[in-house]
């Protein structure tokens, strides 16, 4: 909200803040911010007009060196005349013009410095309206009226002497949505009174006689009060200059004297009011009722809304059949004040905050009025607002009050009397806040804020806040008032007593989960992967591109690219790679190594996204954390071309294996994929992908992005990707609290045997080693493949595989003959179970 410094100065004495208005405005901004009314900006209207003054041309001579320039002698009214070089042609000796003196910085940013123009010194610049940013385009200098005094600051001539403060008001301070509210706040801070003189034009007209328009309330507590005033003989016209300027300072536009009056009331009191063309009100009836579903209501802004029945409307006609205003939001186009209006009907009412808020959001009409009503207006502030409104209309547009009426539901009297009473212990504030504050100080502060402090017989207080402070309801609210009045800087700094000892990491699953995620991230970073964070939403197109579907949909997405909650992190990672390639130039292969550990979203089986009744703890959405990764590019970060190589399946497999090793995950197996085995199976090259199993559960898949997909995406290189179920991994990993247990290594020499085997296509390395270890029990401890060969030397469809088996016993040395016997058994099993031959 913007406030005018000059206006505020009329409502509260600010002279103690500083010597000049500029200093006072700055101090005021500091004071308000310190009290919780944050001032975002302080804008002086004279910015750009310092050192810009009125002068008179006393001589105009041609420039000695340039035909198109002239040399003017100007007078500031006192002191020596100044010589100015000028390029304009429209002035003559005797004209009063505007001089930007040395040191001026014009509104367009131009700095005026002492300069030589074609060999002649110019002591400033004579300005056009364009240079002063008063017009977009101007030919020649601005010639001031002949009666202009000399040496007068331009800001004063233009009436730009106000300062605008922009406040970032919090939603609780409805009482500060008008200048008078701010004035009250400042007055409390300075220990003075806010001042406002109200003429009782409205009150004294009450009961004048037969009101031409009768008012009625038909919405119960949703519209508890309505003040109406009929004025005839008004002359709708443009507002006087002071009104225009005042509205301009607030960033508002002047419309006409009647509408401007209503806006001035809103900006002063914070209470929205409205003026109708009384001749347009039908049936002599005006009332508040709930809207009728389906009715059309034309609004002041030229749009029309279809009412749902939930809104409050102002209606006229014998049976209030016609809606003429969306109550608390905007007046109707069918009862608008126009240039030909001669009778006006003024409204100042109280509407229910929730009803106004609903109507305003339903029809997407956020107005100054709805902003205030939905935050709550002062139920006892209507009279003052109406007095000011009546007075302003009479003074700006003339006319005479015909009738003044007040309608209130019976409960209003009761409600306004029943102010909340906050019981509190005056000694509690000091304890709770941790700052020195005596009961006397507390009382002074609260009374300064117009709270009534009543001493109870037993040491306690009953505090009644003023009617406009709807935000003061509990003792903590009062504590804040005290703290902000004394200044938050007076609160001490203490470290709380731990009271109970911190819990150990092992106790909290969240803590363990966080630590375990940390280990996984460290392991991947150590293997040269960079962590990335992608948004959790994506578009339908992206999902379809990867053959995914998501049932968790954002109802009000940022755009169609943010419509669905991701079911997988892989599409995001693949697009990260494409993005990186997009800005990569040159012939070198770009290393792209990424990982992400974030949740994916799906409905729990059989559920939809509806919050359940159990205290709202369940939503039907299941969050599955995934650990996903992507590799592409050379094996090494640097080196000669021939050494760099390109990543292949086994580089990716190493990343996965190292991860599980580091996490201490139990029971991990990596095996070939089978059709339809995993939700993301279709994304992978079927011969270059593997599944991860943990125990009996499938925990993920990794491998080469399918070549067809790769082509379709126009990827610039092969992409090695994978996605693991983090939830499952986390459950079966060693975690942070368990320490690895020492295992002794063999104390006696080991023996090795190497076998060159011819194997068929169906036989995997895993099977070879498994069979060897089983058949060679108990001596064979390790079996590994160390070479494979396919080609001319072996038959088509066969592979030559070199297997090494290592034998040992923990407690003794082995005999040559034992190893021979074990080797023979291994060979036998290979032949029998896998059809493997020794290569001759």
């Amino acid at each position: 909200m913007k406030i005018s410094f000059n206006w505020l100065s009329e409502l509260v004495d600010l002279s103690t803040l500083g010597a000049t208005p500029a200093v006072r405005a700055e101090k005021l901004a500091e004071l308000l911010t310190r009290r919780g009314l944050e001032v975002e900006a302080v804008e002086r209207q004279d910015t750009g007009f310092e050192n810009v003054v009125s002068v008179q041309i006393i001589e105009k001579n041609p420039h000695p060196q340039a035909d198109r320039l002239s040399l003017c002698k100007v007078s500031l009214g006192q002191g020596d005349p100044l010589e100015i070089v000028c390029g304009a042609q429209n002035m003559k000796a005797g004209d009063k013009v505007v001089l930007a003196q040395i040191g001026a910085k014009l509104p367009n940013g131009l700095k005026i410095e002492l300069s030589k123009i074609r060999g002649v010194v110019s002591n400033g610049m004579l300005c056009s309206e364009e240079e002063l940013c008063l017009k977009e385009k101007a030919d020649g200098l601005l010639i001031l009226p002949a009666d202009t005094a000399l040496g007068v600051p331009m800001a004063k001539i233009l009436g730009r002497d106000d300062t605008t403060l922009t406040l970032k008001l919090t939603a609780n301070r409805a009482d500060c949505l008008g200048h008078f509210g701010i004035a009250r706040e400042v007055a409390a801070a300075l220990g003075v009174q806010a001042k406002r003189t109200l003429v009782d034009s409205f009150c004294k007209a009450q009961g004048l006689g037969n009101a031409p328009i009768k008012i009625s309330l038909n919405a119960g507590e949703k519209a508890p009060q309505f003040y109406g005033c009929f004025i005839e003989g008004v002359k709708v016209a443009p507002s006087p200059q002071w009104v225009v300027k005042r509205l301009e300072a607030l960033g508002a536009r002047s419309i006409n004297n009647v509408v401007d009056a209503s806006n001035l009331v809103l900006w002063e009191t914070g209470h929205p009011v409205h003026a109708y063309d009384a001749d347009k009100i039908q049936g002599g009836q005006l009332g508040v009722r709930l809207a009728r579903a389906g009715d059309e209501l034309p609004l002041l802004d030229g749009t029309s809304v279809k009412l749902t029945g939930e809104e409050l409307v102002i209606a006229d006609g014998r049976d209030l059949e016609r809606a003429i205003g969306l109550a608390g939001v905007m007046g109707g186009g069918n009862s608008e004040v126009s240039d030909s209006t001669s009778k006006v009907y003024l409204e100042c009412a109280e509407f229910d905050a929730v009803s106004v808020r609903r109507a305003s959001s339903l029809h997407l009409k956020k107005t100054e009025a709805s902003h205030r009503f939905e935050r709550g207006v002062d139920p006892q502030g209507l009279k003052a607002a109406m007095e000011r409104f009546t007075e302003l209309v009479l003074s700006l547009a003339g006319g005479k009050v015909v009738s003044a009426e007040i309608a209130q539901i019976p409960e209003v009297q009761g409600i306004s009397k029943k102010q909340p009473e906050i019981a509190c212990d005056p000694l509690w504030f000091e304890k709770f806040l941790g700052m020195k504050v005596s009961p006397e100080e507390a009382k002074t502060i609260l009374e300064g804020l117009e709270c009534r402090v009543e001493h109870l017989p037993a040491d306690g207080w009953n505090v009644s806040p003023p009617s406009y402070r709807l935000d003061l309801r509990i003792k903590e609210d009062l504590a804040e008032e005290i703290a902000r009045s004394l200044g938050y800087d007076k609160i001490e700094e203490t470290i709380p007593d731990l009271g109970s000892s911190p819990r150990s990491i092992g106790v909290s699953p969240s803590r363990q989960g966080f630590e375990l995620q940390g280990i996984a991230k460290d392991l991947l970073a150590a293997q040269g992967l960079c962590e990335c964070v992608n948004f959790s939403f994506c578009g339908k197109k992206r999902l379809e591109e990867f053959g995914f579907a998501s049932d968790v949909k954002v109802i009000n997405p940022l755009s169609e690219d943010h419509e669905f909650m991701v079911p997988s992190l892989l599409p995001g990672l693949v697009h990260n790679a494409l993005g990186n390639w997009h800005h990569h130039f040159g012939s070198e292969t770009l290393p792209i190594r990424l990982f992400e550990l974030r949740p994916t979203f799906a409905f729990q089986p059989g559920k939809t996204a509806v919050a359940s009744e159990q205290n709202g703890l369940e939503t039907g959405v299941q969050e599955n954390w995934k650990l996903s990764f992507l590799l592409s590019g050379p094996k090494f970060a640097s080196g000669l071309q021939q050494d760099l190589g390109e990543i292949d399946f086994f580089d990716l497999k190493a990343v996965v294996e190292r991860l599980f090793q580091g996490l201490g995950t139990k029971g991990v197996r990596i095996q070939a994929v089978s059709e339809g085995s995993d939700g993301a199976f279709h994304l992978f090259h079927p011969g270059q992908a593997a599944e991860v199993w943990i125990g009996k559960d499938r925990a993920g898949i990794f491998g080469l992005l399918h070549p067809a997909k790769n082509l379709a995406l126009k990827a610039r290189g092969p992409l090695w990707i994978g996605e693991l179920d983090w939830g499952m991994i986390a459950k079966l990993s060693r975690g942070v609290t368990a320490s690895p247990v020492f295992k002794p290594w063999p104390q006696f020499p080991t023996m090795e045997r190497d076998f060159a085997l011819l194997v068929g296509e169906a036989v995997t390395a895993d099977k070879l080693t498994q069979v060897a270890l089983k058949a060679g029990r108990p001596l064979a401890k390790v079996s590994k493949i160390f070479d494979i060969y396919r080609g001319k030397q072996v038959a088509q469809g066969m592979t030559s595989v070199a297997v090494r088996v290592i034998f040992y016993e923990d407690a003794r040395s082995l005999q040559e003959s034992e190893v021979e016997a074990a080797s023979a058994k291994i060979l036998e099993s290979w032949k029998k179970e896998l059809g493997v031959q020794l290569r001759s």
Partner: protein, 346 residues
């Protein structure tokens, strides 16, 4: 005669040894002269035809030559070997300025690094950790934390909805409620995590990260809040850092405060060109306050609040905000681009 021959052969061989330029030539000379069928052996074979008086003389001379030649051969071998080794070493010279075969360097996202820093700092004063789902019920996200339906405070956070009564959480405050509902006080927890708001520009992201802290116990004061945050600020930004509290409004706390820390770059010297604080000397960094009693009611701590003086404080820190300050990141959007030029810097 034999003596002369010996001398002839011996001297010729010495020349050959001296001239041998490879180990192979040298070996050939050794075999030709000293081998079983070598020249020296051949001469000694003719010893039988010599007179008995000559024999010892010839024998002695032959042995002398043999020793002499062996020494010469050995010495030459050593020097030739040295030459070969020198050549090998010369050949094996590497240009050490050539590029190394370096493994790739990975990195943790600045959000993760910052979260870790914050968790570590607050862990020192006994904070535990708790997390919760990113999709929450409207009840937990709003109603339970004193933001009732149709309240203007809901406008403070533009909300994404995933269904009737289901929202993408706008803050991690629901974790506070979950924690208090499931545990008895005292409570000291941090809740880091992703949150969502329907807002997107250079300084707002529709998804970002927060870490909230909650301390509930009997007699916790607002000065405890200030002391705790002051400790945090000193740990994160250096021991000279000061904090400043300004009154503000968050529905789940009362009193509420915005908290600024003194600029860690210009140290309150207030230089208008300071790229961190832009001359204000202060950096807005978090929101905080004393837990609103309505939250105690919502979680079943109402009695303890009324009868046992249970109070508490809470604070919320934007992780990206801190990360941008610490790493001088100019644009929030860089965080979510997956650009390796960005990610690999941290």
């Amino acid at each position: 005669m034999i003596i002369e021959n010996l001398k002839l052969i011996g001297e010729k061989t010495l020349t050959e040894v001296a001239e041998a330029s490879t180990l192979a030539t040298l070996d050939e000379v050794r075999v030709r002269v000293l081998g079983k069928k070598g020249a020296l052996s051949e001469i000694l074979k003719g010893l039988g035809s010599a007179s008995p008086a000559e024999r010892p003389v010839i024998g002695a001379a032959a042995n002398e030559w043999k020793k002499k030649l062996e020494t010469a051969l050995d010495e030459r071998k050593v020097s030739l070997e040295q030459i070969v080794l020198d050549a090998k070493i010369r050949d094996e010279r590497s240009d050490v300025s050539l590029p190394s075969r370096m493994p790739h360097r990975g990195s943790l996202h600045p959000i993760t690094q910052t979260t870790r820093k914050l968790v570590k700092i607050f862990s020192r004063i006994g904070f535990d950790l708790n997390t919760g789902p990113e999709i929450e019920s409207e009840y937990l996200n709003f109603d339970a934390v004193n933001i009732p339906a149709d309240h203007p405070a809901r406008d403070m956070q533009d909300t994404f909805f995933a269904g009737p009564g289901v929202v993408l959480r706008t803050h991690t405050t629901p974790v506070q409620i979950r924690t208090m509902k499931s545990e008895k006080w005292p409570v000291r927890i941090l809740s880091p995590g992703a949150v969502y708001r329907n807002d997107s520009d250079a300084t707002h992201s529709p998804m970002f990260h927060q870490i909230e802290g909650l301390w509930i116990d009997r007699g916790v004061t607002m000065s405890d809040l200030k002391g705790t945050l002051s400790f945090f600020a000193r740990e994160l930004f250096g021991s000279e850092t000061k904090i400043r509290l300004r009154p503000s409004y968050f529905p789940f706390v009362e009193p509420g405060a915005e908290v600024d820390v003194s600029c860690f770059l210009c140290r309150l010297k207030i230089s208008p060109t300071c790229k961190v604080c832009r001359g204000s000397g202060w950096i807005e960094i978090l929101g905080a306050g004393m837990v609103h009693p309505r939250l105690f009611e919502a979680v079943g701590y109402g009695d303890a609040y009324l009868r046992e003086g249970l109070t508490g404080f809470a604070f919320g820190i934007g992780i990206e905000r801190v990360a941008m300050l610490l790493h001088e990141i100019p644009d929030l959007r860089l965080m979510y681009d997956g650009d390796v030029r960005f990610l690999s810097q941290f």
